[in-house]
């Protein structure tokens, strides 16, 4: 067991007690902090379903040792804040454009595209494809996800 430690997730400090040292941030988020929105799809950083933003940088929570993330500012899909209404522009676009099927990859893609649009407000199709090339989706073939990315970029610039 590790000594108790504290993680800052979505602006809130969470105590982690009685954890095994080898636990990933993904495991701690899901099983200890009650934040199962980040998904465990491969635990090798190959699917992107656990994408979170750590100190402003998009990373896979499965590849972060939880105990080493003390002092980091962690944002998960649960922490994305809608400007108004129930959904962020990216989330809204996913629903409207039919980008959701089984939905397992969806939280990771929503986080990845939120990160992209914060850095590149008007990405080209190729920029979107490269930005989400680490987020595997098996249902959609990405077509509606790419459409959602452009719709979200447009909605954000219209606001």
């Amino acid at each position: 067991m590790t000594d108790p430690y504290s993680l800052t997730v979505n602006g809130t400090d969470h105590q982690v007690v009685d954890a095994w040292l080898g636990e990933s941030l993904l495991y701690v988020l899901r099983e200890r902090l009650g934040l199962p929105g980040s998904k465990a799809g491969c635990e090798q950083g190959e699917c992107g379903s656990c994408s979170v933003i750590v100190d402003g940088s998009l990373e896979c929570a499965c590849l972060i040792l939880a105990a080493a993330a003390v002092g980091c500012d962690i944002t998960t899909v649960e922490g994305l804040q809608p400007g108004r209404g129930d959904f962020t522009t990216v989330q809204e676009a996913f629903i409207a454009e039919g980008a959701v099927q089984c939905g397992f990859c969806t939280p990771g893609l929503v986080v990845a595209l939120t990160d992209l649009l914060a850095r590149v407000p008007h990405p080209s199709d190729l920029e979107v494809r490269e930005a989400i090339s680490g987020n595997l989706c098996r249902c959609t073939g990405y077509g509606r996800i790419l459409a959602a990315a452009q719709a979200a970029a447009k909605a954000a610039s219209d606001e």
Binding site: T2, L21, E46, L63, L65, A131
Partner: protein, 290 residues
């Protein structure tokens, strides 16, 4: 079980006096092993919170030629930033082929070296540029050339208690590039990769190969042959197609590929020759701009 997250290199090096401690940088290799149950750490030294390891600087020529010194936890994404990418274009090419954006944000140059995978994407670039690895221990700092740092597949010259703190890469004048073959168009482990760097000052060509041997391989015979055929006073667009093809064959001959589930030895040898021919064509063939 403990975790140490020092904020300075000195503290980190001091912590390495404990032989049981395992060093964690970007986590992109380390955590794959932990998650799979292949690594069960009792004590971990995390480098995440050491700001000086995440910096890089350009050092002008003095005793040494001009070079760039990259801290060990400089990430692949850092290597893609324009100011660094224009100094080290082949390294930036290689960094862009590493995994996914998420992996590039986390993975580090020091981690790529310490893991020493035969498919490590930056390793051919480091080998071609003859990078030097700075290693610190309680006894002090020593330099290890990349060629001797990597001693085999996933094996390095790093001794217990030593920490990679930086990598120094020379700034060369001349064409540089990196090409990598994978079966998928993104996020893929290299089946074969190649770095080519031209140094017009010393009139040398450096060519290193990845994923076709136990570690990065320098194709020295091919390098010397090509350097000897080039008109160095007018290097661009002076090399004929048959010479480019011959260079490709020499490079293919330097490879030591194996069959595995990612590709066959025969394909790897063929493909590395094609990459070499193409890279040389970019540097010296018709239409090149070296």
């Amino acid at each position: 079980m403990t975790i140490l997250s020092p904020t300075s290199i000195d503290e980190a090096v001091a912590a390495l006096a404990d032989p049981a401690i395992q060093v964690l940088a970007g986590g992109t290799d380390f955590m794959v092993e932990v998650n799979a149950g292949h690594r069960r750490p009792d004590k971990v030294l995390s480098l995440r919170h050491i700001p000086e390891l995440r910096t890089w600087e350009q050092l002008p020529a003095r005793d040494d030629p001009a070079h760039v010194r990259l801290g060990a936890t400089v990430t692949y994404t850092d290597m893609l930033q324009p100011d660094l990418a224009q100094l080290l274009p082949a390294l930036a090419h290689a960094a862009r082929t590493v995994g996914s954006p998420q992996i590039r944000n986390a993975g580090t140059i020091g981690g790529n070296l310490a893991t020493a995978s035969p498919a490590g994407d930056t390793l051919p670039v480091l080998a071609a540029l003859e990078a030097v690895v700075e290693v610190a221990s309680p006894l002090g700092v020593r330099d290890i050339p990349v060629a001797t740092f990597i001693t085999g597949p996933k094996r390095t010259a790093l001794s217990p208690g030593e920490l990679i703190v930086a990598v120094r890469l020379p700034l060369l004048d001349g064409h540089q590039e990196f090409r990598k073959i994978g079966v998928r168009n993104a996020m893929v482990i290299a089946v074969a990769s190649l770095a080519l760097a031209v140094d017009t000052r010393t009139r040398t060509v450096r060519c290193a190969l990845g994923s076709v041997g136990p570690g990065p391989i320098r194709a020295t015979e091919a390098e010397e042959w090509l350097a000897g055929t080039i008109d160095w006073d007018r290097p661009a667009a002076t090399t004929e197609a048959p010479d480019l093809a011959y260079f490709g064959r020499l490079v293919a001959g330097a490879a030591q590929p194996i069959d595995d589930h990612r590709g066959t030895a025969a394909y790897r040898r063929h493909a590395i020759g094609v990459l070499a021919e193409r890279a040389a064509a970019q540097a010296f063939g018709a239409g090149s701009a070296a």
